[in-house]
């Protein structure tokens, strides 16, 4: 029995290593190996979730505490400082804001963790040879499972704000899946960029923050500020978060443009991200 007999395709008993600069690896063996090692990505993500917060007093309670504090901060920001408390539909606005914020923080967390996974995985990269795409994908998996308790928190807020329950809410995960693919694609793009241009780490938080304000999170998609109206539909998060909030908060089926737009951006980001990542990943070790 040999060490790597399960992935003969990717790891044949005869290897030839030759120089190369760019270009895609052979896709079939690559994806076969990726699939065979999915257990590795899952295990890494599971152990990371277990290891996170073990040193803190609240431990895994932070998974619920984080979204609650986040909702509080933005409640203070939008309702008290901006003086919007007296407006009609304040409860709906708050529920909408929470739904948007939680989804946005899920997206940005998955993207940022995916981006950091390659540069942060230094030692593993230097000493093991495996399809590198497992690293950002594992980070996205971690973000997804850390997001699940947030959904329960949202449900609590939804009921507390006396919003009705609709059957359409059950369709909201469709947008969540699209958002996940979009986040994975963006994460892979930034992960590869970060190897060449380390300053990305410092730019990314500002980029994320600006993106938050440009997306229909703190305001309803229909009430977009006039300044943004012209180009808002080009923001990938506009259909993704817009459709999510429509289903989850209002129980309204989103227009077909939102479905199509969300699917388009999710597939585009994932395909472009994975191709870009794969074409670069063999160079990562030389530059770490």
């Amino acid at each position: 029995m040999n060490a790597t007999s399960v992935d003969e395709e990717f790891n044949p008993s005869v290897h030839v290593y030759e120089p190369h600069k760019v270009g895609l690896p052979a896709l079939r063996p690559y994806f076969t190996a990726l699939w065979q090692r999915r257990e590795f990505a899952a295990e890494m993500s599971r152990t990371n979730i277990r290891a996170a917060n073990t040193n803190t007093f609240f431990g895994q309670v932070w998974l619920v505490l984080n979204p609650l504090l986040l909702a509080l901060v933005y409640y203070l920001l939008t309702d008290i400082i901006a003086g919007g408390g007296a407006k009609v539909g304040a409860a709906e606005r708050f529920a909408h804001m929470c739904a948007g914020l939680f989804a946005f923080y899920y997206f940005s967390g998955a993207m940022t963790a995916g981006a950091a996974s390659v540069v942060g995985g230094g030692k593993l990269l230097m000493n093991q040879s495996f399809p590198r795409m497992l690293l950002p994908l594992s980070a996205v998996r971690t973000a997804f499972f850390r997001f699940l308790p947030t959904l329960v928190v949202y449900l609590g807020i939804h009921l507390l704000m006396r919003q009705k329950l609709h059957w359409q809410m059950l369709l909201a995960p469709a947008f969540l899946i699209m958002l996940t693919f979009f986040a994975a694609g963006m994460g892979m793009i930034f992960a590869a960029l970060q190897v060449y241009f380390r300053d990305t780490t410092s730019f990314l938080p500002y980029f994320v923050r600006i993106w938050l304000y440009m997306s229909p999170v703190l305001w309803f998609a229909e009430q977009a500020p006039p300044k943004f109206k012209g180009f808002i539909q080009y923001n990938p998060l506009y259909p993704l978060l817009g459709g999510w909030a429509d289903l989850l908060v209002k129980g309204a089926i989103p227009k077909w443009q939102l479905w199509a737009g969300g699917g388009f951006w999710a597939i585009l980001a994932f395909v472009v991200g994975s191709l870009f990542f794969m074409s670069r990943e063999r160079e990562f070790v030389v530059r770490l």
């Binding site: 005869v14 290897h15 030839v16 290593y17 120089p19 290891a51 000493n127 040879s129 495996f130």
Partner: protein, 272 residues
């Protein structure tokens, strides 16, 4: 993966005279950003000129050699000679900048201490994670886990986070993982330096057992005595260049002479 596969053949381990590892005119260059004093001013000046502070480090230059199956080859050389880089290239982790490496057989690596291990996780979790990354199935890993933990003799420490380990414990675990991966070609990079005397002799016995089963082994070491004892072939690298290849005794003699350190003195140094 740093593999560009141009040919695939069924494995022919013992029947042919194909060498286990064939290194042909390989050079490896690292690109790294480097500045002696990284100041804001120099960064601005650099930015203004449109330059980037990239240094090229030529870690391995035009190295060629063949290694036959069943050989234990020692690789010696001063710090920064490119030994570890060469090992990474043979393992397929680093792509060569030029040249060609052919490897016949499956490779298991044991590259410098505590590698690939996440200190926040327990020894057991690290073993499972490392095995999964190497492409083993969970079932196989669980079977081998018993052997691994028995060989490492870490007892209850297997369930504790690895940040609580001493460096000797790290090297015990790393070594037992590498040898239990059942490799055709084993790469060992200074992994034994932190182990104690009893573990070193146990490890040496395990290694000679692997070699008698016609496994090939690369041993990177600064301990000349272990190279002399275990290896039947030797390579001396200096600043990325192949200086000498031959019988361990001759190569070690030439190397120690080159370092201008007497034979006796270098032996006493490694025992510190």
């Amino acid at each position: 993966m740093s593999v560009s596969e141009t040919e695939k053949k069924p494995m022919q381990k013992t029947t042919s005279n194909v060498p286990a590892v064939k290194v042909q005119d390989v050079s490896i260059t690292y690109r790294t950003t480097f500045e002696r004093v990284p100041t804001f001013k120099s960064a601005l000046v650099r930015f203004g000129r449109g330059e980037r502070a990239v240094r090229e480090v030529k870690a391995v230059q035009n190295v060629s050699f063949d290694v036959n199956h069943g050989t234990t080859i020692g690789i010696i050389g001063a710090n920064g000679a490119g030994k570890s880089t060469l090992m990474r290239a043979v393992a397929g982790i680093l792509p060569p900048t030029s040249g060609r490496i052919e490897v016949h057989g499956r490779v298991s690596t044991l590259l410098s201490l505590g590698v690939g291990f996440n200190a926040a996780l327990s020894g057991k979790e690290n073993v499972i994670l490392g095995g999964l990354a190497a492409g083993l199935s969970r079932k196989v890993i669980e079977e081998r886990y018993e052997e691994i933990s028995e060989f490492a003799e870490l007892g209850d420490f297997m369930e504790m986070p690895m940040r609580t380990y001493s460096s000797g414990m790290f090297s015990r675990l790393a070594f037992s993982v590498a040898v239990h991966m059942d490799p055709d070609i084993l790469l060992i990079d200074e992994a034994l330096s932190a182990g104690d005397a009893s573990f070193k002799s146990k490890a040496a016995a395990k290694m000679s057992e692997l070699v008698t089963n016609s496994r090939t082994m690369f041993l990177v070491s600064h301990a000349m005595s272990s190279v002399r004892e275990m290896c039947n072939d030797c390579i001396w690298l200096h600043k990325g260049k192949l200086m000498m290849r031959g019988e361990p005794d001759e190569v070690i003699q030439a190397y120690t002479k080159f370092l201008q350190v007497g034979e006796a003195e270098s032996v006493s140094l490694e025992d510190l």
